[in-house]
Symmetry: C2
Subunit: 266 residues, 2 copies
C-alpha cells in the first residue's frame, strides 16, 4: 500500500523533473536508459560500445519522434548515414546506473548535419557528451541528398551549441599491430552491413588489457568512410602513442573506418 503510493508519487516527481530539465527543449529529446549487466566489462564500468549504442539509440528515437527517423526516410527512399562521432567522458557509468541522454540537432548544411548528446545520471550530473555528424543518402543512387530540403528536419534545428569539440579528422594510421576479421552474422544489422559500434568493438579487442584496467578513456573520435558488408575480410590496424589510433581496411586496402582514443591515467 505504502509502496504503491510512493511509486505513484515518484512517477509524478520524475515526470516533473524531466519537464523542468527538458523545458524549452523544443522536441523534448530526453531518453532514459539503465546500464545492464551485459553492458559492463571486467572493471564493472559500461563499455564504450554499450554507451555508444545507447547514444545512437537516442539519436534514432529522437529522429523517429520528430518525423525524420529511418522509417520516415525510407518512405522517400532515403536513409541516414553516420559520418563522424566524438565522445567525451567525465565519469564512467557503472552497472545498474540509470542515466538520460538529451539530444538535439543544431547545424545543417547541404551534405552534413550535427546531432548533439549530453549524458546525465539520476542526480543530473553530466557524465559524458557526444557530437555526431550525419549525411542523408538516396538509397537507389547511393548519392547524398540535400538535408535542408527535409522540412521536418529544418524545423527541429536549435541554436544551442555543441557540448564538446566536433569530431576530428583522422588522417593517417601507421600500424604496429594488425588483426584480420571476417564480418559475421553477429556483426550485421538489417542492411547486412556491420553495425557502427562493431567497428569499435574490434578496435577495443586489439588494445592491451591494461589500457582498460589502468587507464580511463577521456575522448573518442571516429571517422566512418565506407560500410563493411557481410562476409568481407577486414584488417584492423593499431598504432600506439599518446593517443591510440586505429584504421580498418577492406580486402582492397580501402580505409572504411578510423578512430582515435584519448586516455587519462586512473
Amino acid at each position: 500500500m505504502l509502496a504503491l503510493a510512493l511509486h505513484k508519487f515518484l512517477r509524478k516527481l520524475i515526470y516533473l523533473r524531466k519537464q523542468i530539465e527538458c523545458r524549452g527543449m523544443g522536441m523534448d529529446g530526453c531518453y532514459d536508459y539503465v546500464v545492464e549487466p551485459r553492458d559492463v566489462d571486467l572493471t564493472g564500468r559500461a563499455t564504450f560500445v554499450a554507451v555508444g549504442n545507447y547514444v545512437l539509440q537516442a539519436a534514432g528515437e529522437d529522429a523517429d519522434r520528430n518525423g525524420f527517423g529511418l522509417r520516415d526516410l525510407n518512405c522517400s527512399n532515403c536513409s541516414w548515414v553516420l559520418s563522424r562521432v566524438a565522445m567525451e567522458f567525465d565519469h564512467w557509468l557503472m552497472q545498474y546506473e540509470r542515466f538520460s541522454v538529451r539530444t538535439w540537432v543544431n547545424e545543417v548544411g547541404r551534405l552534413m548535419t550535427t546531432r548533439n548528446m549530453v549524458l546525465t545520471d539520476e542526480m543530473g550530473v553530466r557524465r559524458g557528451a557526444a557530437v555526431t555528424q550525419w549525411a542523408m543518402i538516396d538509397l537507389d543512387r547511393r548519392t547524398p541528398v540535400d538535408i535542408r530540403a527535409n522540412l521536418d528536419y529544418a524545423a527541429a534545428i536549435r541554436e544551442e551549441p555543441s557540448p564538446i569539440e566536433k569530431p576530428q579528422r583522422i588522417l593517417r594510421v601507421t600500424p604496429v599491430r594488425t588483426v584480420a576479421h571476417r564480418v559475421s552474422y553477429s556483426d550485421i544489422d538489417f542492411n547486412r552491413h556491420a553495425n557502427s559500434m562493431k567497428y569499435m568493438e574490434w578496435m577495443f579487442d586489439l588494445l592491451p588489457l591494461e589500457y582498460i584496467t589502468d587507464r580511463t578513456l577521456a575522448r573518442v573520435d571516429i571517422n566512418y568512410h565506407h560500410e563493411a558488408r557481410y562476409g568481407e575480410l577486414l584488417t584492423i590496424c593499431f598504432e600506439d602513442g599518446p593517443q591510440s589510433l586505429f584504421e580498418i581496411k577492406n580486402s582492397e586496402g580501402v580505409p572504411i573506418c578510423r578512430a582515435s582514443l584519448g586516455w587519462r591515467e586512473r
Copy 2:
C-alpha cells in the same frame, strides 16, 4: 535551485522505493524487458544471444531478490556456475516488443539445481521457455558446494514443474567446419571468463546465413563444461544434420562447451 532540491529529494525517494520493492518479493519473480534495436539481427527478430542474455539477467535479478544472488554468495566465497540450458521458442520476439520473463526454481540436489523461465509478451501469450541447471562452487577450492545447505535457496523451491523438457546431454560432435577464436576483451565478464552467451555468438557466426533467414530456431540445448579465459585460443567446431551441433575446444583439445540447435522451416 528548485531542480537541485528536487534532485536530492528524489534520490532519497528512489532509495526508499528500492528498499520497499525488494522486501519480501516472495518467489514469484516476473521481470520485464524490451527488445532493443541492438538485440535484433538482419531479419528484425531478437537474436538467440539477446534473448539468452535477458533470460540469464532475469535469473540473476531473481536470485538477488531472494538472497542468493552472486553478491550474497560471494560473501561466503561461493558462486553460481551455469551448467546446462534448454530453450524453446514459440514465436520469435521482434524489435521494440515488450516481454516478461517469469522465473522459479523447482528442483535442488546436492550438486545441481534447476531454474525455469517462461517468456510471455504484453498480451500474455507464451513466446518461449527455458530450463537452466546450475551448480554452486567454492571460489577458492573450485569444488562444488551442497546447494541444499543454503537456507534462502531451500525456501525458494516451488512445486511447479519445468515448462519444457530438461537440457539434453550432447555426447559427441564430428566437425565438418572449424574456426579459431581468441578470447578477447569484448568476450569477457568481471571474472575475465568468456560470458556464457558469447559461446553461442561464436557458434551462430559459423552457421550459413540462410539458416537464419530461411529457418526458425525451435530448440537450443547447451552443455557448459569449462570456462574460457581471456587470451585463450579456442576452436569452434560445427557438424550439420537434422540438428546443428557445435563443440568449442580449448588449445589442449578439451571440450569447454557443446550445443545443439533444432530448426523448423519458416
